[in-house]
């Protein structure tokens, strides 16, 4: 229980850090969203002072001292108010994010789970039987590990979409023919469109998991308790799974945070390639439109999601490793 308590405190601090960072960065830079709006609408009638003030109120641009702004910001967050988007004006940021978040979560979540399962599984086999075919894959995985996600996406898209016409070229679903909703055609279309993006992410990230697991398997296998289990005559599969793999997988779980960071980064770029309607595309569009409120909101949502995922994995770690439940 102490472990959980410590983790909870840690994540609260991390959340606070993310929130504060999000607040601070634009404050340290020049410009505010109202100017951005004005720049967009400049060709129309020049704005009156009243209108400008109204805009400022809407966007929450005040001229109060920093600490007061900070408190206002926190208050807004607590109510889920992330401000108004500049490029989708007057749609609130939360609405925009709401629409794109599920796509990303579905894609990244599925791809990561797949990559972890396959990668760890292959790594386990590679470490278990040195010198057999999974082990021979290892040097090539170093190549895979270095491939930029989005480039792989480009290549795969070109191959399967452009040349072979097996898979669709872009979007999250068939925009022309299906409507969004929990209906069969939509889900089927979404899955179909999701294959390539997911495939890119899986292939690009699998190498890391595989390598890490394999190295740990090799170390674990030399431990005395594994040798004892083998000597006792237990079935090899059982020794591999219950004794070796179970311990070897721990550092991978512990190192999940680092890996997730890479996955998130890679996914953003991958979404662009496929024009996938997720958070990544929205973020990049926001950047090119100088939509600062939207950018901030997106950063916050991404950061919180990553923190949440890490927290879940830490809980999982407590379940897998009995030592954490005992020791302080």
């Amino acid at each position: 229980m102490r472990y959980l308590r410590r983790k909870l405190v840690f994540y609260l601090i991390a959340v606070w850090a993310a929130v504060t960072l999000n607040f601070l960065i634009p404050k340290l830079m020049k410009g505010n969203p109202v100017d951005a709006i004005l720049a967009k609408t400049q060709n129309m009638t020049p704005m009156s002072a009243d209108a400008r003030h109204a805009l400022e109120v809407q966007f929450g641009v005040t001229h109060d001292p920093i600490w007061k702004q900070y408190l206002q910001y926190l208050g807004n967050l607590a109510h889920g108010r992330l401000g108004l988007s500049v490029s989708y004006y007057p749609a609130p940021v939360s609405k925009v994010i709401e629409q794109s978040l599920p796509w990303t979560v579905a894609l990244v979540g599925t791809a990561t789970i797949l990559a972890v399962l396959i990668g760890v599984g292959l790594g386990m086999l590679a470490g278990w039987r040195r010198g057999t075919w999974p082990d021979a894959l290892i040097p090539s995985t170093t190549f895979l590990a270095a491939i930029p996600y989005f480039w792989l996406a480009l290549v795969l898209l070109y191959l399967f979409g452009g040349l072979l016409h097996w898979l669709p070229l872009n979007s999250g679903y068939d925009v022309d023919t299906t409507a969004i909703g929990f209906n069969g055609p939509f889900i089927g279309s979404a899955l179909y469109h999701g294959i390539l993006p997911a495939l890119s992410i899986v292939v690009a990230s699998i190498a890391g998991w595989m390598l890490g697991m394999r190295n740990m398997m090799v170390s674990t296998m030399a431990e005395d308790y594994v040798v004892t289990a083998e000597a006792k005559g237990l079935r090899p599969a059982r020794v591999m799974l219950q004794y070796a793999a179970r311990n070897a997988v721990l550092p991978s779980v512990a190192g999940f945070a680092i890996s997730l960071g890479f996955v998130v980064s890679g996914s953003i770029a991958t979404e662009i390639v496929f024009s996938y309607p997720g958070v990544g595309t929205t973020l990049v569009a926001a950047v090119s439109n100088a939509d600062y409120p939207l950018m901030q909101g997106l950063f916050l949502v991404i950061a919180l999601s990553v923190l949440g995922a890490n927290f879940i994995v830490d809980l999982l770690y407590a379940v897998i490793d009995p030592r954490t439940r005992q020791a302080a």
Partner: protein, 343 residues
């Protein structure tokens, strides 16, 4: 004549067990004196606190209470004072594989203390001094040895390097923490003899920490036996080892597989009650009683009595031989009323 005096030294560690802070009294009110030309043996099993005492004397661990005085002067803090102290009090570690930095040569290990304590004025002098040290510990040819890395040496050679390093600043006190425990049995005697010779040559005060009674007797003039942080017996090494008074020492002596040691078949002298007590004849090996002030050994002691639940003072078994055991209360009182008489 150098004297390192330890008085009422204690160390309590704070451990965490399932969220609670549990104090561990590693060293409990220990006092003794190290003198030039004499070796004092500190004997005990793992967890007895003997290594902690050595580390406190080496200023690697801060005592919780008690005093350490070098030549009558307690060592203050402050950079210079500590540096001087370190030039006077040196230590040899137990594990020859771990006490040398694998990334540095033998020469580097020796040059550093020479530099730090200004033993040599310039580089040629330092070089000479280093070769001299290697010669003293019988590592030759010195030029070849100086360039070697630890992994190229055997355990015995590494320990010689460790000894040379300890001698570099010309100390007057040497703390040897189980210097031969991790060496092949065949070379233990060599290393111990080396330390003995160096002690004589430099008139060192030596603290010899060990778990091995036999070498303690061979090597030291005085011996102290420790059990779970307390000194349970002390006296001349012959007395303590050949005529052990405390039941724990007797246990150690009977367990030592050393054919030359005389078995302590005699019952402890002046035994008040033999073989009876709450634990019956055989020692109850269920281990640790809570530190409630009573004798820490009573759960394993074949002679445990009711009074053993009381805090045990140190009694005199003989003129120079003391034991922390209720068995000797009467003998001690008797001596206090009568003239000294050999038992």
């Amino acid at each position: 004549m150098t004297e390192l005096a330890v008085s009422h030294l204690s160390k309590t560690f704070v451990t965490h067990d399932r969220g609670r802070r549990v104090p561990l009294r590693a060293v409990d009110d220990v006092s003794f004196v190290l003198r030039s030309g004499h070796t004092v043996a500190l004997v005990g099993e793992s967890g007895s606190g003997k290594s902690t005492i050595a580390r406190m004397l080496a200023r690697l661990v801060r005592p919780t209470s008690g005093e350490i005085r070098l030549d009558g002067v307690p060592v203050p803090g402050g950079y210079r004072a500590v540096r001087r102290y370190r030039g006077t009090v040196q230590m040899i570690f137990q594990d020859p594989f771990a006490s040398l930095n694998p990334t540095h040569t033998v020469g580097y290990h020796l040059r550093r203390p020479l530099r730090l304590h200004d033993v040599a004025e310039d580089r040629p002098a330092a070089q000479e001094a280093m070769y001299g040290l290697l010669a003293r510990v019988n590592l030759s040819p010195a030029e070849l040895m100086a360039g070697k890395y630890p992994h190229e040496l055997s355990g015995g050679q590494r320990q010689r390097v460790a000894i040379a390093r300890a001698l570099a600043p010309r100390p007057r006190v040497l703390l040897a923490d189980e210097p031969v425990s991790m060496l092949d049995v065949s070379i233990r005697l060599e290393i111990l003899n080396l330390i003995e010779r160096l002690k004589r040559e430099d008139d060192l005060a030596v603290l010899y920490v060990t778990h091995d009674l036999a070498t303690a007797r061979y090597f030291a003039t005085e011996a102290m036996v420790m059990y779970r942080g307390q000194v349970v017996e002390s006296g001349s090494s012959d007395d303590v080892i050949l005529r052990p008074a405390h039941p724990y020492t007797q246990l150690l002596a009977s367990a030592a597989p050393d054919p030359t040691a005389r078995r302590a078949t005699t019952a402890p002298r002046d035994l008040a009650a033999a073989g009876s007590g709450p634990n019956g004849g055989a020692g109850n090996r269920s281990g640790r009683p809570a530190p409630d002030g009573g004798c820490l050994f009573r759960n394993r002691c074949p002679h445990a009595m009711e009074v053993c639940r009381q805090p045990v003072p140190v009694f005199a078994v003989d003129a120079t031989h003391t034991a922390r055991c209720w068995l000797y209360r009467d003998a001690d009182q008797a001596r206090a009323h009568a003239a000294d008489a050999p038992a």
